[in-house]
Symmetry: C2
Subunit: 309 residues, 2 copies
């Protein structure tokens, strides 16, 4: 079994490559749920859905979220009613949230329901939420000191405002979802996907026991840097690293991951920083990490698997 | 002020006629919420929505429920996921439930939210839910003794199975919604719309204080029989009356309403039963009650207003 610790878009792209070099039945992804939110009474799991839609080949490559061939009748009608439409939910996408919310109300667990949804979408890689309990990423806005939900920061405020704090509400009383600790214990390789280290992977480390289970396997843990040449390919990772006192570079990523992973995979663009990465105690591997095609993703996945074995 | 006690389709049709003979700002409808249900986490108020959509001219005359020009992307996607689709929710209709559920979660009351939705749909008649607290109509199936929610009986089982009991869960601790008792006290005429006496109007009488407030105005209360020639124009009213030990006739309706209303308006088809109606202590008025057009509805409304003044 290969276990990937995953956020949304970057992790999804990596998993599509990994699937080309390993049978999907041997792959498990443990996915961030700190971004989850309840809107209009519906339970929305953005990272789980992004990974699921992407692996199903049903994702919308233009937006980077939601489903391809989507329609927007519900949102348009909600807008006419003066309801909140800052978080766009397509008509087809709504079905996922209706299903999840209904099953949660029936007493289903998020991990059970995720399996059911994956079966419905024909996704063969096993997706595990990091926890079945709610853990909510809260962001402190630097200007006002106000704490807002992650989606409010990320979507409503378009991550354009400075922040100075992160908190994972509910983490202290959460537990890893069923299967998470066993997967980490039994994996031949554990991969930290090229996702935002603070708000995609940070929530995972906040779940008691999860980071320790990764550290216990450090020699088989390989991280892929989401930062290339000081920037994130997508999203606010670089900005957040700087604002929260880290370095927006592969060296900053290495400092965050050095106790969790034994190898950091970085892009050729950062080859000159390899020595600095290795000075943190990690082995540094340089390759192409910009996943511009499934073939590049697959080559990256192969390299990662070689590092971790 | 004219106050109409209302269920769904029959009441909506009556109100469209009433609106032609009285300014909408002088009209209040107190609407059944015993049919309300939570599906997929969304709060659905079928009678409020039927009346609202109908008064907005946005109803779907073919189905008798939902919105005209509706699309079904969400339900189709939910069906592909194996989710429950027995209660069809169109994409545009979903927006109403998203709005209502979101506002309830924010702490809004059903009556406040109903006002907001009516403003969004341009409905000028004031719609009041019978109560802001949940009152749920439960139906006992005769064959199994099982108690099911009203929508399960009405939609999933298509009201094709015999029943032998009704219960209004939550009624004992509910109170009339703000404005309900004042409207009943101040109305010049109170009209019991031609709705199912048991499951559209029965829930209203189950809210403590509401039936007494109607009885106190009995001389100004006019009921319109939903039963014509022993049958309901729509829905299971006749069958339910028989199964629950009442007569499926205008006489049976009179016996149910005699303490609440002083007048029962019946159709010409039942003129031969006028004496039997009057023997219950109600005045009986015979006119056209089959609302085949807005003009017939308006004429019926005029007759009702004459009776109640």
């Amino acid at each position: 079994m290969i276990v990937t610790l995953a956020g949304g878009v970057g992790a999804a792209r990596f998993l599509k490559g990994l699937r080309l070099v390993k049978p999907p039945r041997e792959l498990i992804a443990i996915v961030n749920t700190g971004d989850d939110t309840v809107l209009h009474g519906l339970h929305i799991s953005p990272d789980l859905d992004t990974v699921m839609y992407s692996l199903a080949g049903a994702d919308n490559p233009e937006t980077g979220w939601g489903l391809a061939g989507e329609t927007w009748q519900a949102m348009a009608a909600l807008e006419r009613l003066g309801g909140p439409t800052w978080f766009s939910l397509g008509d087809k996408d709504l079905a996922t949230h209706l299903y999840r919310t209904g099953r949660l109300a029936e007493g289903g667990s998020l991990s059970q329901i995720t399996q059911e949804l994956c079966a419905g979408f024909g996704v063969e890689i096993t997706l595990l939420p990091m926890s079945d309990q709610p853990v909510r990423t809260l962001v402190t806005l630097a200007d006002s000191g106000q704490e807002v939900g992650f989606q409010e920061y990320f979507v409503a405020l378009r991550h354009e405002v400075p922040i100075d704090g992160l908190r994972f509400e509910g983490a202290a009383t959460s537990t890893p979802a069923p299967g998470v600790l066993a997967a980490l214990a039994e994996a031949s390789t554990i991969i930290i996907a090229p996702s935002n280290p603070l708000v995609s992977l940070g929530p995972l480390w906040s779940v008691p026991g999860l980071a320790d289970a990764v550290k216990a396997r450090r020699s088989n843990v390989v991280a892929v840097s989401p930062i290339v040449d000081g920037a994130a390919l997508k999203g606010p990772a670089a900005r957040m690293l700087t604002e929260l006192g880290h370095e927006a570079s592969v060296v900053g990523v290495a400092k965050l991951y050095k106790d969790l992973a034994s190898v950091l995979v970085i892009d050729h663009a950062d080859a000159h920083l390899a020595n600095q990465v290795e000075s943190t105690g990690m082995r540094c591997v340089v390759t192409d990490t910009i996943m511009s095609s499934p073939e590049v993703s697959a080559a990256l996945a192969s390299t990662v698997l070689e590092c971790g074995s």
